[in-house]
């Protein structure tokens, strides 16, 4: 448990420098990146498998044996997919910079929703392969990386949307978005509707559920604060020096 906790805490959410940015996708080295990049087009056909890695290695001009540099095999392919899909969200300028019809910039909540949808659509071409990917991600050796990636995705979406809250809601926001994303992603793998319409409805319902929950939690906080304050005032009115 200790190494897992340490990794969860220390590997994610480190100081992000603008002047001295971290090297790009330090998770993968140059050769790995080249092979993985070349493997991506083969995923729709061969899935997240050793075959895809082999094809990618050949396309990138490496020997078949070079796939030995991936001790975790096909899971590395999944990890790579997760990373590049997450990082590509920053380029969704039509969401991040767009104004809607009234020339009003999108609200934080609408950006979160739009980015979540954009990320789900990043799975569009490989969705028929995603259940096998989910099974691999859930294996004990891979589950840490998968969970860290999921929480990084939630963090990325809130950050890009311009949310700056740094109190306890930082945690609840990321936790609820992770839950919404993960459940919608699973739903999507069984969705046969045109343009993933049903997935869209499913996601919208999850967001409004979360909103209602948020309102309930918010008013609970307010109520506790109000009651404590009122209680203090009553004691003061009784002449107690507080």
């Amino acid at each position: 448990m200790q190494p897992l906790r340490r990794r969860l805490i220390s590997s994610s959410r480190l100081y992000h420098s603008y002047d001295h940015p971290a090297p790009p996708a330090a998770t993968f080295n140059q050769v790995e990146t080249a092979i993985l990049d070349a493997s991506l087009p083969h995923i729709p056909t061969y899935g997240f498998t050793q075959t895809t890695l082999l094809r990618g290695a050949r396309d990138a001009g490496y020997l078949d044996a070079s796939t030995n540099i991936f001790p975790r095999g096909p899971f590395t392919l999944i990890h790579y997919h997760l990373v590049i899909q997450r990082l590509s969200l920053a380029k969704q300028s039509h969401i991040l910079q767009r104004s809607n019809s009234n020339e009003q910039p999108l609200s934080i909540a609408s950006k979160v929703k739009a980015l979540t949808w954009a990320r789900l659509m990043g799975n569009k071409d490989i969705v028929h392969r995603w259940q096998e990917a989910l099974a691999l991600m859930a294996q004990p050796t891979n589950v840490t990386t998968s969970v860290v990636e999921l929480s990084s995705l939630a963090d990325e979406i809130w950050f890009l949307s311009g949310d700056t809250s740094v109190d306890s809601s930082w945690y609840t926001k990321r936790a609820s978005l992770s839950t919404i994303y993960a459940s919608t992603e699973v739903f999507m793998t069984t969705d046969k509707s045109h343009g993933f319409e049903e997935t869209r409805n499913f996601m919208d319902r999850r967001f409004s559920d979360a909103q209602n929950l948020g309102v309930a939690l918010g008013s609970l906080n307010q109520w506790v604060g109000f009651t404590a304050h009122a209680g203090l005032n009553i004691l003061r009115s009784k002449g107690i020096r507080l």
Binding site: R13, H20, D59, I84, A90, V166, D167
Partner: protein, 264 residues
């Protein structure tokens, strides 16, 4: 403290001696709050993280992929990022606590000693400004806030309220204890950062405004904390009974809270 402020050292040596004495260099920008905006400045900053496009052309070699996005300035090391992460997290937690302590103390202290109203307000306002400064930095640099946030909220309020009920001297002793710990903690951060900047300069690296401003912000905050410490002592913190036990108790509590906030 007062003797340090009339320092004979020439200004050119501040870089080396800064950590020895809090306020060797008289600063003129005390009233300027360049960073204490609450606006969502982080939202305006477009992310600079380089990213891979899923559909981009396959690079013919690994080198091509690597050289196309070389950063202008050298990346921070893992240790430096670790340090900055826990520094921002612990500073935000500390300022949260300071804000709540003064907020809880003020009505009680001012009711008994109306002449302290301007001083309490002055110190509270400065804490609010520190708090929003570090809130903005934590958001901008994508640092996870402390998981103990609700716990510190309750404990700081209880501490402020409790010491205020024990009287003005105890309230001031609380300020003395807290500001001593926070002040020396900020001092350690300034020392580390100046060392880091010095090493980077020696290697011929471009420091960049981000780090320079950060050092300046922490140093200014530290000076204001030590000012609070002076105010506390001027207002008879030492007359609290039992002064030493109370101060030591609160200081130990602060050290524990700092230790925890740096990690969780």
């Amino acid at each position: 403290m007062a003797t340090f402020r009339k320092s004979p050292f020439p200004a050119s040596q501040w870089l080396i001696r800064d950590f020895l004495a809090p306020s060797l260099i008289p600063r003129t920008s005390r009233t300027i709050r360049c960073l204490s905006t609450t606006s969502n400045s982080a939202a305006a900053v477009s992310p600079t993280e380089p990213s891979y496009e899923p559909q981009r052309r396959i690079p013919s070699s690994g080198e091509e992929a690597a050289t196309s996005s070389a950063p202008l300035k050298k990346s921070l090391t893992q240790a430096q990022r670790d340090f900055l992460t826990s520094a921002l997290r612990v500073n935000q937690a500390g300022e949260l606590a300071a804000t709540l302590i003064y907020k809880a103390q003020t009505p009680v202290v001012v009711a008994a000693h109306p002449h302290l109203r301007p001083l309490m307000k002055h110190m509270y306002d400065q804490e609010v400004s520190h708090f929003s400064t570090f809130n903005a930095l934590v958001a901008k640099h994508r640092v996870r806030p402390t998981a103990m946030y609700p716990v510190w909220t309750v404990m700081a309020t209880a501490l402020g309220w409790g010491t205020a009920l024990m009287g003005r001297e105890a309230a001031m002793a609380c300020t003395e204890a807290v500001e001593t710990e926070i002040g020396s903690h900020y001092n350690e951060q300034v020392r580390y950062l100046l060392e880091m900047v010095e090493n980077m300069e020696r290697e011929g690296q471009d420091i960049g405004d981000e780090l320079k401003t950060l050092v300046e912000t922490i140093r200014r905050t530290r000076d204001e904390e030590l000012e609070h410490l002076d105010h506390a002592v001027e207002n008879d913190a030492k007359d609290a009974v039992p002064h030493t036990a109370l101060v030591e108790f609160i200081r130990a509590g602060c050290r524990g809270a700092i230790w925890v906030s740096e990690r969780v």
